[in-house]
């Protein structure tokens, strides 16, 4: 047997402080009422740092700082000068990518190979891409001299902390807005390190403000009357509440919410690559992906073969220490999320679906869930309808392309879908009929800053990425 020896990435590149304040008006400050909370490493439950909890007064300060920076500095600044700052930030992210990747894995639980090879390169790429737009906005197709919106309130989730920050901040700044961003309460640390990068880049004070806290902080931020634009990525439930609170105000709103994507495998698919795509679709980032391919729709005449290959492949997945360079699946981000995954998986078993996981040893401490598939799932099962947001795949079968489309679309969500077939004409036929914002063909979970991303139906509205991603931050 060929056993891989432990290959841990060193933690020493990260210089964590015991506690962090709020980043407002270019400096770290203490919160007005002195509240704080702890951010833990989900793989070990050790406390990583104590983080300030922003209250209403802090939100007020942050929005005011952002307003001032918008009116005095960032709004009037020529695009070519804004671009310089964005390029500088992008380069600093690249220079400090190892440090950021290790911290992301520590705070989030995702494997270092993903934070190193996927998250960080994409984060830098987003800043580079939108830096390029800053002085070319009149060519973006939104009129001859499109203006920024003003102050953007941005609330991001815990699954891709730094990447979601980049998706929000890069286009906002390129278009001339200033921002107040709230990272998720379980993963605030890389956003705070990003704040240090803003200082290092000598970004003018108040252009980027980072306030930490949980749901109450987020609510105070999006409901603040001084905010012109709200951008949220997270659950559909919270998205609804935000839409209600923003209704009837001048605020522009983009929402990127949940998903229950169908990954559709036809009988002429390249089977080995399709199996890789299925694995990547649902087990990438522990399945904590809004566009995860959580419903496998496989043509019935190849279902046995595909499932056999899938199970063999799943047995190769290495679950464990997120900092080990050979880990494929890391820790579940929080106890609460683990509880939700368990609850829905138990419902799957109770409703009669057949559950399977490869033999795999899970660590004693921390939050872990073995990669799991359910076969014999029908459209009526909860695990086929509700977003699990974990490493759990529901397998359904279909007979014809029309049935595949019908089942794929039979969900209140509409964020993404995947098609696996060797037939180009079928890819186009399917893509025309799938009600999903992103359709991948013979691949899955591919991201690029030039490509717009966003949902249909209850997966939200507005697009992030690409030229389209500028629209939400321009007064058009």
């Amino acid at each position: 047997m060929f056993e891989y020896a432990p290959a841990p990435e060193s933690r020493s590149v990260v210089d964590l402080k015991p506690s962090y304040g709020l980043f407002i008006d270019g400096a770290f400050v203490d919160p007005a009422d002195g509240g704080s909370f702890k951010s833990i490493n989900p793989a070990s439950e050790e406390v990583l740092a104590e983080v300030a909890e922003a209250g209403a007064q802090d939100v007020e300060r942050a929005v005011r700082a952002a307003r001032k920076a918008y009116e005095k500095v960032w709004g009037p600044m020529p695009g070519r000068d804004r671009a310089k700052y964005l390029f500088r930030i992008a380069r600093l992210i690249q220079e400090r990518s190892r440090e950021l990747a290790v911290l992301e894995s520590l705070d989030n639980g995702k494997p270092i190979k993903e934070s190193r090879d996927v998250d960080l390169p994409l984060v830098a790429a987003h800043f580079f891409y939108y830096a390029g737009w800053a002085d070319k906005l009149e060519h973006a197709g939104f009129g001859v001299d499109p203006k920024p919106v003003g102050v953007a309130a941005q609330v991001i989730p815990w699954n891709f902390p730094l990447l979601m920050l980049a998706w929000k901040i890069a286009p906002a700044l390129a278009a001339g807005n200033t921002v107040v961003l709230k990272p998720a309460e379980t993963t605030p640390l890389t956003a705070l390190l990003f704040a240090e990068i803003c200082q290092q880049a000598e970004l003018p004070a108040g252009v980027v403000n980072i306030i930490t806290g949980a749901g109450d902080t987020g609510r105070a931020l999006v409901e603040h009357p001084g905010v012109d634009k709200v951008a949220f990525t997270g659950s559909t439930e919270v998205g609804r509440a935000i839409a209600r609170s923003v209704a009837g105000t001048r605020k522009k709103l983009t929402l990127e919410l949940g998903g229950k994507a169908a990954n559709i495998v036809f009988d002429d698919a390249p089977i080995d690559q399709a199996v890789e795509g299925i694995v990547n679709g649902i087990f990438f980032n522990q399945g904590h992906v809004c566009c995860a391919g959580s419903r496998l729709l496989v043509q019935e005449n190849v279902a046995d073969r595909v499932l056999e290959s899938l199970k063999r492949r799943m047995a190769q997945l290495r679950v464990g220490d997120p900092l080990d360079k050979n880990t494929d699946i890391g820790a579940i981000n929080s106890a609460a999320q683990l509880e939700r995954i368990r609850e829905l998986s138990d419902a799957g078993s109770a409703e009669g679906a057949e559950r399977w996981s490869p033999p795999c040893e899970l660590p004693d401490r921390g939050f872990w869930f073995a990669p799991t598939i359910f076969t014999g799932v029908t459209q009526a099962h909860r695990i086929a309808r509700e977003e699990i947001f974990g490493p759990v795949l529901s397998v359904l079968t279909f007979r014809t392309p029309a049935e595949a489309v019908e089942k794929a679309n039979n969900t209140p969500y509409g964020l993404s879908a995947g098609i696996w077939t060797d037939k180009g004409s079928r890819i186009l036929w399917m893509a025309d009929r799938l009600r999903a914002g992103v359709v991948w063909a013979n691949t899955f979970n591919k991201f690029d800053p030039t490509s717009p991303f966003g949902g249909y139906k209850e997966s939200g509205y507005g697009r992030e990425g690409g030229r389209h991603g500028l629209e939400g931050y321009l007064n058009v």
Partner: protein, 319 residues
């Protein structure tokens, strides 16, 4: 073996009787998505193999080397020296294992055989008008018989790429069957020359064709065309031997050859074997590297692991 694989095996053995049946079967194999296969190979290449795992991998890789010289300038003296190196790769360290085999042209086989007798190192000879294979069948078979008679216990044949690319699968199949027969007890490695087959779909089809015709090993390349072994090509071939064993119960070996020069490269291949076909193939009987300069890099890394310091290239023999 189960009843299903027995019956599948006999069904598959019938395929070679008809051009139509062969074509229908080979074109019915699932396609290979180029982007996906290359992405998977690249991902496997990012595994981090350190300390004990690295030591284990290096020794295994040494045992898997088919130490090769295939030059017009090969002489008895040259191949004898190479054979001596194959037996004792590191004269300074008796714990260093010997390589899997020495691979030479048929005319050089007798000289190598003298050195290798009783050492456990196999003697491979290329044959069948290597590397182009563009000679009449009778000559290719005579080439094979001569190599075996001179003492080769492994034959590395080339498939008829001209016939394969023209779609004459049965002709390719029949040549492999005939060469297998001419090889007698010698192990038959079938070189697909994947650099000339160009697409992964072709690589998968040629792999199955070679296995159906009775090849004991499938090998990527001659080393004589610009594109030799690559990780994605080897991945597709490993998937083929895996699926072939599942269908028939017969295990076939894989040999990437050409262009594998460093320990780092070799370890990437071993990781790929480990995670694609598993431990059953992690053995010199089932996986080989066709290489020459690779061996010295493995030895250098091996010495580094045991002593903690790198020795200069002059400490390793050049043969």
């Amino acid at each position: 073996m189960t009843a299903t694989t027995t019956s599948a095996r006999s069904e598959l053995s019938e395929l070679g009787r008809s051009e139509t049946a062969l074509r229908t079967f080979l074109h019915g194999l699932p396609g290979v998505d180029q982007v996906g296969a290359e992405q998977r190979a690249a991902q496997l290449g990012t595994r981090s193999i350190k300390t004990t795992a690295k030591a284990q991998a290096i020794d295994l890789a040494i045992r898997m080397v088919d130490l090769t010289t295939l030059e017009g300038a090969d002489t008895p003296g040259k191949v004898r020296a190479l054979a001596a190196k194959a037996v004792r790769p590191d004269p300074a360290d008796p714990s260093c294992p010997h390589v899997g085999a020495v691979c030479v042209y048929p005319a050089m086989v007798p000289y190598v055989a003298e050195v290798l007798r009783g050492t456990g190192v196999h003697l491979a000879s290329v044959a069948t008008a290597f590397p182009s294979g563009q000679a009449p069948l009778e000559i290719k078979l005579a080439d094979t018989r001569a190599a075996v008679a001179a003492g080769a216990d492994e034959i590395d044949m080339v498939i008829n790429r001209g016939a394969f690319l023209a779609g004459r699968y049965k002709e390719v199949y029949d040549e492999i069957v005939a060469t297998k027969e001419a090889s007698g007890d010698a192990h038959l490695k079938v070189i697909l020359e994947t650099g000339e087959l160009a697409t992964y779909d072709n690589v998968r089809r040629a792999s199955w064709l070679a296995m159906l015709a009775g090849g004991d090993f499938i090998k990527t390349s001659t080393g004589k065309v610009p594109v030799a072994a690559t990780l994605p090509v080897s991945l597709v071939m490993l998937e083929a031997v895996r699926d072939f064993r599942a269908a028939t119960g017969r295990q076939v070996g894989v040999k990437p050859a050409g262009g594998i020069k460093t320990t780092k490269d070799a370890i990437k291949y071993l990781v790929m074997v480990n995670e694609t076909v598993g431990a059953d193939w992690l053995d010199p009987d089932w996986f080989r590297f066709g290489a020459s300069s690779l061996l010295n890099d493995l030895l250098m890394q091996r010495t580094k692991l045991t002593t903690g310091t790198y020795s200069g290239p002059d400490y390793f023999t050049l043969d």
